[in-house]
Symmetry: C2
Subunit: 307 residues, 2 copies
């Protein structure tokens, strides 16, 4: 799957992943109103509006980008109906041939990580038939439990041609509280980065990159520079661009000299573009076109930073 991701990045020229994180504040009001009219003001109606929102966005941008990253928390908020919308979103994006990165940040002891890996990247076999719980191509994984909490994901990646991105240095303000603490003179995130290299060493794709990537926030460009060198074969998923404060110029050092090795996520900056002054002329009805314009602007911002 890392090969497919790299291929699609080359084809689109856009190392961009659109975060499908539909909060109540972002869902265009006309979609909510239409769903409420049918089903009342219920989680089921919100879930319907979420899917309509995602479908509109995906239809508008799928030819420009290699991948999407639905954040499962935004769906889990609404319980079962929300998760049904997550499932439908993943399936729809795959119909559009997008690589789907499930931002699920799971991680547990071995047997439990195995269950998560099967549910999100793998399958269960019943009566000789395969069933897939959710069907993401990649998942984000939390490393706090160490190797035996991550390895079951890697095993499923190898079996199913999937991938993971392990949290190394996250984009949030307090990420340094534990991640930056020095251990034998080096920050914890470097130790985690070294383990990412180790975990990924047996699942290197034809493209030269591993199925085990890393998450490093755009908000920490200096750390990105160090981690890029430390993990030369790991793709870096970079959140924090746009709404969280990361800029195009900050991104340069997340990439390798081949111009690859990183994929930049933007969520609110794209899916909520219609609410920004810059794209206000599209109006709420034009939310999908506004998202398309924002993707094109983001692509230009990154390309000129890399040039």
């Amino acid at each position: 799957m890392i090969d497919k991701l790299v291929e699609k990045i080359k084809k689109t020229g856009a190392p961009i992943v659109v975060g499908l994180d539909p909060t109540m504040k972002l869902i265009p009001p006309q979609l909510l109103e239409a769903a409420y009219k049918e089903q009342g003001e219920t989680p089921e109606a919100v879930a319907e509006a979420i899917f309509a929102y995602n479908k509109g966005l995906v239809d508008a941008v799928y030819d420009l980008i290699p991948a999407v990253k639905p954040q499962i928390a935004m769906y889990e908020t609404f319980g079962i109906p929300g998760l049904i919308a997550f499932d439908k979103t993943v399936k729809y994006c795959k119909e559009k041939d997008l690589v789907v990165i499930g931002d699920i940040k799971r991680g547990d002891i071995g047997s439990t990580s195995e269950a998560y890996a099967q549910g999100h990247l793998g399958k269960v076999v019943l009566g000789g038939k395969e069933y897939r719980g959710f069907e993401e191509d990649f998942a984000t994984v939390n490393p706090y439990l160490g190797t035996d909490g991550v390895k079951p994901f890697v095993k499923v990646c190898a079996e199913e041609n999937k991938g993971i991105f392990v949290l190394v240095k996250t984009s949030n303000p307090s990420s340094g509280e534990f991640q930056d603490r020095l251990i034998d003179g080096r920050p914890l995130y470097e130790l985690v980065g070294e383990k990412v290299v180790e975990w990924g060493s047996e699942v290197i794709g034809k493209c030269g990159y591993s199925a085990v990537g890393a998450v490093v926030g755009a908000t920490y460009p200096e750390q990105g520079k160090v981690l890029r060198k430390l993990m030369p074969k790991s793709f870096i998923l970079v959140p924090g661009y746009g709404a969280q404060g990361g800029k195009g110029a900050d991104l340069v050092h997340f990439f390798n000299e081949d111009g690859l090795g990183a994929i930049i996520n933007s969520s609110r900056g794209i899916i909520g573009a219609y609410q920004q002054e810059k794209y206000a002329s599209y109006g709420k009805e034009g939310f999908a076109d506004a998202a398309r314009a924002a993707v094109l602007d983001m692509k230009e911002d990154i390309q000129s930073a890399l040039a």
Copy 2:
């Protein structure tokens, strides 16, 4: 909710939580067969068998124990049908007045943790009406992202009278890989333990314990001893007893002098008791009675260790 947990521990005399982690190997075959007959060998059928299994277990032990801990990964494996079984299990346990600890190990950047907290411990309000996604009383939380990834959970705990258990020192073999690394001469888990105290300082219940507890594995009794002293007002959720190797005698130092402060989880040891030689006479049809016997034995093991 910490007050309710303490009250129920006192009433039952059993600081025990039963882990409802229904894997395919544990579900009694007759329950699977019955469900397959109705619905074919499908995830929906497995989900039905899982709920029947949980219901049988809960009916057999609910008067003996204060709490249950469903591990959501075991349900997520089966996608939406699995999560419906999780939801039904949580609701059923609450009908039986059990405290429900959702073992979900979530944690993300602030706005995303807020979405998880709302979905599992809180609510969304639509049209003036409250909807709860899942309805656990406690959730387990991963601390890797630091304070701003945990605080949204604490906020919801304060608003909704709920609680969390933060991963401090996990029970798995490689938990030491990052958690034991020394920072200024002290292991990372101690730093996380100190943060648990800080995060919990404003949500202390009438019982004297905080709504913010910690997860510390039974497999690491020495570390448990240190962490017990470091976090005097934090309840410790202790996994790893039984199948993972922890014994009654290992548990003593997880408790405070008041005989409280810890709750010990057993999953396979209880729900899979009918598969053990010791309880083989119950047979697969007697899985629930075997679980009851195993709970009584576990209670005695802990009580004699504490005496």
